[in-house]
C-alpha cells in the first residue's frame, strides 16, 4: 500500500525538548474506537513521533508532543483506509499531520494526571483534556490515557459522512507512550 506520509500531532506536557526521554515506539501505540452503526470499531495509527518531558516534581515544566502520521491509519479494512484519506475525511494530502501541544499537566491522584492542550487536525485546533496514568518500571515509563474527540469539530467525515447515526461523532482515542532511559 502506498501511504502518503502524513503526521498527526498529539502533545502531552510542557518542557525543554532537550530533556525529553527516548520513546520506545514498538511498545507505544495510538489507537481509537469509533462507532459505526453503534458497533465499536478499533483502529490505530502506525506511525507517530512523540516527545515527552515529564518530571512529577516539576509538573509546571512537563511537556509532551505527539505527531501522528494520518496516512498511517489502520481502520481495520483497506477500503476504509483509502476512504478516510479523502478530502471529506482527513484530506491527508493537504493535512498530513495532526498535532497536539500540551499547555498544562496537573496531578489528580498518586499516579494519575491530566494533560491539557491543543489538538490540531485538518487545520482546526481544539482544546482537549486527557487523563493519563504514569507507571514506572526501572527506567521504563509508560504514559497511558485516553480522551474523546468529536470528529465533526475537526470536519472529519464531511458531506454524507456527517450523518452521526452511521458513524458516531464521538471517537475515543487511546494512547500509550513508553519511554526508556530518563535523561
Amino acid at each position: 500500500m502506498n501511504f502518503r506520509v502524513v503526521f498527526f500531532v498529539l502533545t502531552l506536557a510542557a518542557g525543554a525538548p532537550a530533556q525529553a526521554a527516548d520513546v520506545d515506539y514498538t511498545s507505544s501505540q495510538i489507537t481509537f474506537v469509533s462507532k459505526q452503526m453503534n458497533v465499536p470499531v478499533q483502529g490505530s495509527f502506525k506511525k507517530f513521533t512523540a516527545s515527552i518531558d515529564f518530571d512529577p516534581k516539576k509538573l509546571a515544566a512537563a511537556k509532551a508532543l505527539i505527531d501522528v502520521e494520518l496516512g498511517s491509519i489502520d481502520t481495520g479494512s483497506p477500503e476504509a483506509d483509502a476512504e478516510v484519506s479523502k478530502k471529506g475525511w482527513f484530506n491527508t494530502s493537504a493535512f498530513p499531520t495532526a498535532k497536539f501541544a500540551s499547555s498544562a499537566v496537573s496531578q489528580t491522584g498518586p499516579d494519575n494526571y491530566e494533560v491539557r492542550g491543543k489538538l490540531s487536525i485538518k487545520g482546526i485546533g481544539q482544546d482537549i483534556a486527557a487523563p493519563f496514568t504514569v507507571k514506572r518500571a526501572g527506567d521504563v515509563i509508560t504514559y497511558a490515557g485516553r480522551f474523546n474527540l468529536k470528529r465533526l469539530q475537526f470536519k472529519i467525515g464531511e458531506g454524507v459522512w456527517s450523518d452521526t447515526d452511521t458513524v458516531a461523532d464521538d471517537v475515543q482515542v487511546n494512547f500509550r507512550i513508553v519511554t526508556k532511559g530518563n535523561k
Binding site: 459505526q36 458497533v39 478499533q42 479494512s77 476512504e83 454524507v160 458513524v167
Partner: protein, 186 residues
C-alpha cells in the same frame, strides 16, 4: 369431508412465510450491498443484512421448538417413498442452512473486526478474534452455503409447484391456505 391430515398450524404457516421473505430479501441485499462503494448507505445495509440474519436464526429456532410440539402433517398417501425421503432431506437441509448461514455470517463479521450489534442495541459476543485470513475463509463458507441453499430452495419451490400443478394434491395448499379455498370451489 376432511381433505387432509390436521395440517400446519397458523403459527407454522406464518413462520414459514416470514422466514422465506426474510431469506429472500437478505439474500438479495447481500448480493447488492457487497457491490457498493464504501458509503454510509453501505454501512447501513450491512447492518440491516446482519440484523435480518440474526432475526432469521431466532425465528428458525422458534420454528423448530414449535415443530417439536406441533408435528407437521403427513405427506400424501399416494406420494412415492423416494419423494418422501427427498422432501425430508430437503427440509432437513433447509433447517440446517437457515441456522448455519447466519452463524457463518456472524463469525465472518467477528473475524473481520466488526462485532454484530443486533438492531444497533444488543451486542452479540465475538466467538472469534479479528483474523483476516479466517475472515476470508468464512466469507467463502458464507457464500457457498448461500449457493447451496439457493439450490435447495429452487428444488423446494419446484417440488411444491409440481405437487400443486402435476400431482394436484394438497401439499402446497397446506402452506398457502388461500389456495385451499380456491381449490374447494373448483
Amino acid at each position: 369431508m376432511q381433505i387432509t391430515s390436521p395440517g400446519y398450524t397458523r403459527v407454522a404457516i406464518l413462520l414459514h412465510w416470514l422466514i422465506a421473505a426474510a431469506i429472500f430479501s437478505t439474500f438479495l441485499l447481500g448480493q447488492y450491498m457487497t457491490q457498493l462503494q464504501l458509503s454510509p448507505v453501505k454501512l447501513k445495509l450491512y447492518s440491516y443484512h446482519k440484523w435480518i440474519g440474526v432475526t432469521i436464526f431466532l425465528l428458525v429456532l422458534f420454528r423448530l421448538v414449535w415443530r417439536l410440539s406441533h408435528r407437521p402433517p403427513a405427506p400424501p398417501a399416494a406420494m412415492p417413498a423416494w419423494q418422501h425421503t427427498a422432501a425430508t432431506t430437503a427440509h432437513f437441509l433447509l433447517y440446517v442452512l437457515t441456522l448455519a448461514i447466519p452463524i457463518s455470517g456472524w463469525l465472518m463479521s467477528s473475524a473481520s473486526g466488526f462485532q454484530v450489534v443486533y438492531l444497533g442495541h444488543f451486542p452479540i459476543p465475538d466467538l472469534v478474534a479479528k483474523n483476516k485470513q479466517l475472515a476470508e475463509q468464512l466469507k467463502e463458507v458464507h457464500e457457498t452455503l448461500n449457493w447451496v441453499m439457493l439450490g435447495v430452495v429452487i428444488l423446494h419451490v419446484a417440488a411444491a409447484l409440481k405437487h400443486h400443478m402435476v400431482d394436484r394434491d394438497e401439499v402446497l395448499q397446506r402452506m398457502l391456505p388461500f389456495l385451499k379455498k380456491r381449490s374447494t370451489l373448483r
